[in-house]
């Protein structure tokens, strides 16, 4: 109790006795989470507005004699005529490593019941993206741990790779697996004590999702031990649209802090379709003119300004990076929709997930033809580049030939070989959720495939074989993998070791 009286005494001593000046206004109309406020002549764009009962708002529309505010929090306690006052602060969120392992809302308030977040720093939610000068081209890999992605559409640190597909085709799974793999790599790197190791911290932004889904995601991350490297920003479907609109920017500010402090971060926006919908709702209520599909005119800028904030910075600017994995949900596989085309044009490539493949049991259901990474093999380690260089082409050929061969009964030898190889690669790429494969094992598996070690195994058994080989490589054949991990290259002696390991495995596999 003495601590409390001390505290009160201290607060009284520190209390300023100056006259306060506040800029106030009163609510004229209040509807759907948006308040029109009279007065507030000194308000800034995007400034936080304080309403009674600790409700916050953001000034989005500055009109001649009124201000349009979107409200964050419980709107039901407000009424017409209530006083609103400016705060002189732009909306900002706490940032820093204190947020790791936490679940916060769109304004950075904890939602996980783990107590207050004692972050020492905060950053405004809306910020200008890094310019041309501090940027650098993407050349460091960010391993997703998913073979189909790492081999065909490699992602680099600082890249923006869109994950796009119909509902329930495994979009979130790819993002979560990537986060889990980062945690795995981080733990491995930290255990090795390598001074040059650069961990990747993750931010997962859940926009307009069901609370049950968010809870499941958190559980998956906790079970795989990845939560300690992740901050989750959640604006669930039950939240008002203003929170859903702000959540990605808040998450981005948290990610930017790592980038600006010379660290690497990964941010997942799950998903931007719902973000656009939330923004559409706000815009329509604010009576902004609407365009195609009733989206406002600046819906492109809405996403471009967000995704432009992901970057890889030069060494003299700290060498940090922020990689973004935005997710877009398509309707019936239509990538030509308004929001999908917008985001496709902003990002540096996309991973397209096909419902048909998913239903056929090919998971992750990465479509070879429609998935690209504009960074390409610059974001692969040398060893992987060597073995996976041709695989995308081979698989594309396979898909084409497979379509043709449906009508043809007798095929020539080369076509048959090509089909066979393709079918085996498809089997090799099948991977369960939350089961990322390290890059050295991926390289070894790819190497074994390219050196025809899987040819004598029936197509249906290839996946089982790959799993058994993986287990073998992680235990007995560790030497070769360690060499690939440490050098990043596939030199002659490494290859020899790998060959003997794979041959050994082959003898035991049946």
């Amino acid at each position: 109790m003495s601590s409390i009286t001390d505290l009160i005494r201290k607060e009284i001593e520190n209390l300023s006795t100056d006259a306060t000046r506040t800029n106030v206004g009163s609510i004229i109309t209040l509807a759907d989470g948006v308040a029109k406020v009279d007065g507030l002549s000194k308000v800034m764009f995007n400034e936080m507005i304080e309403f009674p009962n600790n409700v916050l708002g953001i000034a989005l529309n500055l009109e001649e004699d009124s201000v349009g505010c979107v409200l964050l929090g419980d709107v039901s306690s407000l009424k017409e005529g209530d006083e609103a006052r400016t705060t002189g602060k732009l909306l900002s969120v706490p940032v820093g490593k204190e947020l790791l392992g936490r679940v916060v809302d769109a304004v950075g308030r904890p939602m996980d019941g783990k107590g207050a977040i004692n972050a020492s720093q905060s950053l405004p939610v809306e910020r200008i993206a890094p310019g041309i000068i501090p940027r650098k081209s993407v050349d460091q890999p960010l391993q997703t741990g998913i073979m189909a992605v790492d081999s065909m559409v490699p992602i680099g640190r600082g890249q923006r790779e869109l994950i796009i597909g119909d509902r329930s085709t495994g979009k979130t799974t790819i993002a979560i697996d990537t986060i889990i793999n980062q945690a795995k790599i981080n733990k491995q790197g930290e255990a090795s004590g390598d001074a040059n190791f650069r961990p990747v911290f993750c931010v997962y932004v859940a926009i307009g999702q069901k609370n049950a889904n968010v809870a499941r995601t958190i559980k998956t991350l906790e079970e795989s031990g990845a939560m300690e490297y992740v901050t989750i920003v959640s604006a669930p479907a039950a939240d008002n649209p203003a929170n859903q609109y702000l959540a990605p920017y808040a998450g981005c500010a948290m990610g930017e802090w790592y980038m600006e402090n010379g660290m690497d971060a990964l941010i997942v926006y799950d998903d931007l379709s719902k973000h656009a919908v939330a923004y559409r709702q706000i815009s329509l209520i604010l009576k902004r003119p609407s365009g195609r599909e009733a989206y406002p005119g600046d819906v492109f800028y809405l996403h471009s300004r967000l995704l432009e904030r992901s970057a890889r910075l030069k060494e003299d600017c700290g060498n940090g990076s922020l990689t973004a994995l935005p997710i877009i949900e398509t309707q019936m596989g239509d990538v030509a929709g308004y929001i999908p085309t917008n985001v496709i044009s902003i990002t540096d490539g996309q991973i397209f997930l096909e419902g048909d493949l998913f239903n056929k049991g090919i998971r992750p259901a990465v479509s070879v033809g429609l998935s690209v990474s504009r960074v390409g093999s610059a974001a692969q380690i040398k060893a992987y580049k060597k073995v996976a260089g041709k695989v995308k082409l081979e698989l594309a050929q396979f898909r084409e030939l497979a379509a043709f061969s449906q009508f043809e009964s007798d095929l020539d030898a080369t076509t048959k070989a090509s089909l066979d190889k393709g079918a085996r690669i498809v089997e090799l790429f099948k991977q369960t959720a939350a089961n990322p494969i390290s890059v050295e094992v991926q390289t070894s598996l790819m190497w074994a495939m390219q050196n025809n070690f899987f040819d004598s195994i029936a197509v249906g058994d290839v996946n089982r074989g790959a799993q058994s080989l993986r287990k073998y490589l992680e235990t007995q054949g560790k030497e070769a993998c360690d060499l690939i991990y440490s050098t990043g290259k596939l030199e002659e002696n490494t290859e020899q070791k790998l060959r003997s390991a794979v041959e050994d495995w082959k003898r035991t596999f049946s």
């Binding site: 607060e11 209390l15 100056d18 306060t20 506040t22 800029n23 002549s41 000194k42």
Partner: protein, 131 residues
């Protein structure tokens, strides 16, 4: 956007103000009566613009001052002088007593609020505890 009547409206507003530049109710009434007598075909539009302008001017002229207790004339004049010295336009002061302030003042000038009262200091204190 300046309307076609803007010069007329400005004149009418000027007619509605007294020698201190403050809008006077009786003068406004005179103008309204005058307008009705002329009965021009654009009466409605002129009336609308005139009233909008009057409301706006009133808003800018009004200074609401609340004191926590009965206050002597000298304090009021001092306050008036102080405010008039910084703000050049004519001002209409309205003094009231608000017991909830306990002591001190609260001045509302258009949408700016200046406050120094026992109540505001106490609420500042309670805020510093909760934040």
């Amino acid at each position: 956007m300046p309307s076609k009547f803007s010069s007329l409206i400005t004149k009418l507003v000027k007619e509605s103000t007294n020698e201190h530049g403050i809008i006077d109710k009786s003068l406004v009434n005179n103008v309204l009566v005058g307008l009705k007598e002329i009965n021009s075909p654009m009466h409605q539009e002129i009336l609308k613009e005139f009233l909008t302008e009057i409301t706006k001017t009133l808003r800018f002229q009004l200074v609401e001052v609340e004191f926590g207790s009965e206050t002597s004339k000298s304090v009021m004049t001092k306050l008036k002088d102080k405010i008039s010295a910084t703000i050049s336009r004519p001002l209409d002061f309205k003094f009231t007593t608000n017991k909830s302030l306990i002591a001190g003042y609260r001045i509302k000038l258009v949408d700016d609020v200046f406050e120094d009262s026992v109540q505001s200091r106490l609420s500042k204190l309670s805020q510093s505890f909760t934040s």
